[in-house]
Amino acid sequence: MNFKLIDFTLKSLKRRLTKKLSVIFIFSLIVFLLVSVFSISSSIKKELEISVNALPEIIVQKMSGGRQTVIPVDRAYEIATIPGVQNAYDRVWGYYYFVNDNVNFTVVGLDFDLEAYKQKYSDIINLYAEATDTIDAPFMIVGSGVYKMLEDNFYKNFYNFRTVTGEMLETKIVGSFTDVSAMETNDVILMPVNYVRELFDISENYATDIVVRIPNPEEIEIIKQKLNSMFPDSRIVSRLDIEASYQNIFDYKSGLFLALLIVAFVAFFILVYDNASGLSIEDRREIGILKAVGWQVENILQIKFIEGSLISLFSFFLGTGTALFYVYILQAPILRNLFTGASNLKPTFNLIPVINFEILILIFILTVPVYILATVIPSWKSSVIDADEVMR
């Protein structure tokens, strides 16, 4: 490597710095946008992948007229007798419309006396009150979004739920989920199951759905088929279905991002085409002078290759670096609105860092070599012509 050539290229770049700055700006901006959007998307995908493994293997819902309805609790006992099923239990949950801010909370009923739940609480819930099993009055554990929203509406430590019969159910807030799980729990309210039944007017003989736990993953599909034949009026959702549903969202989203990618690359190729379609008079004169003082075509091409490499590598790394900083340190302000809903209840965006090297390499291959070629080819065209003709 001839370092004098690098020095010469840098000096040549220095003379035309303002002109090249616009190229660097657009190049970096395109890389920045692509890396930012793909990083956010990868992080959300990772978040879903983490949560899917903790979901129940099968959820049984009763359908009526194409819509979900309450399911008899007795079915849980029938399901528990199927060989391969570890346990099956009924669950009561639903949506509570919070009229003040036009949002829906997810209210989940839980048996707080179960020892298994007590063990799980400590590191994921901040408890503000005494131990939950000693409280007689209605109480709830809320997601951080719900907590902030209720506080903004002057419900400091409690909330008055309006039950389906129109009565008020004053419920004390005894704890909130930590911010680590904000993406999963932002809109969630955990309440003792008997109060959730009261809130939604669901009798003890019915539940929202039934959860089936199956230890052996090989048996899930067979048990799903069995459940389908046992309860023809039910929709059986397995964990595989949920994974497929996630994949559907990401296939759809990938299409949108592909459209964004195409638009960005069209803009980039216009820039490259503009560069490749002809050199400026100043560039041609420079090549002419270099040829006149005895430089060979090979040397000129080396300079142009170094120049193209410096500009494209600098722009690529600048775009990638700022995008990673913007997404994972600043938590993607403005751009995150593309991913969160239009609702007032938005989760805090604590994205898990995920570096998708495949995407980075793809963006690198589609930009850097293309730009280098677009710098070298017109210079080669000019440098093979006689010096006086180039300068004329």
Binding site: L10, K14, L17, I44, K46, E47, I50, S51, V52, A54, P56, Q61, Y95, D101, N102, V103, N104, T106, V108, K120, D123, I124, A182, M183, E184, T185, N186, D187, V188, L190, V237, D241, I242, A244, S245, N248, I249, Y252, K253, L256, L310, L313, F314, F317, T320, G321, L324, Y328, N337, L338, F339, T340, G341, A342, S343, L345, P347, I352, P353, I355
Partner: protein, 116 residues
């Protein structure tokens, strides 16, 4: 008057170039290391999900057919509501006004009209 144009030295350009590249590479290593060391975060998230038992993220809470869509309609991108032509995240680029849509603000508007 003698105006002297200040030029940036080529060494400075080279240093900026090296600085940007090393900063980005350091960032890539740092975030990649972080993504490999989030065991406690994963365990906490999985605990939460195992308690709640519901899928999907709390990104879309404005409509019940958007929250927990995976157990509502498994294979459709446009679930339940026929008027929902586009879906996450395209529909989030623009939104209707939060205040004008709220039933409470409508009531307030009506009250103001009556007061006038």
């Amino acid at each position: 008057m003698n105006f002297r144009k200040r030029h940036i030295s080529s060494n400075v350009i080279l240093w900026i170039f090296l600085l940007v590249i090393s900063f980005t590479i350091a960032e890539l290593f740092y975030f990649n290391y972080q993504s490999d060391n989030i065991e406690t975060v994963i365990i906490q998230k999985q605990k939460v999900v195992s308690i709640i038992g519901l899928p999907d993220l709390a990104l879309s809470t404005e409509a019940v057919w958007l929250r927990h869509r995976s157990i509502g309609n498994v294979f459709s991108v446009f679930p339940d509501d026929g008027s929902l032509l586009d879906y996450y995240p395209a529909s989030f680029v623009y939104t209707t006004g939060k205040i004008s849509n709220s039933p409470l603000s409508k009531k307030k508007k009506e009250q103001r009209k009556k007061n006038k």
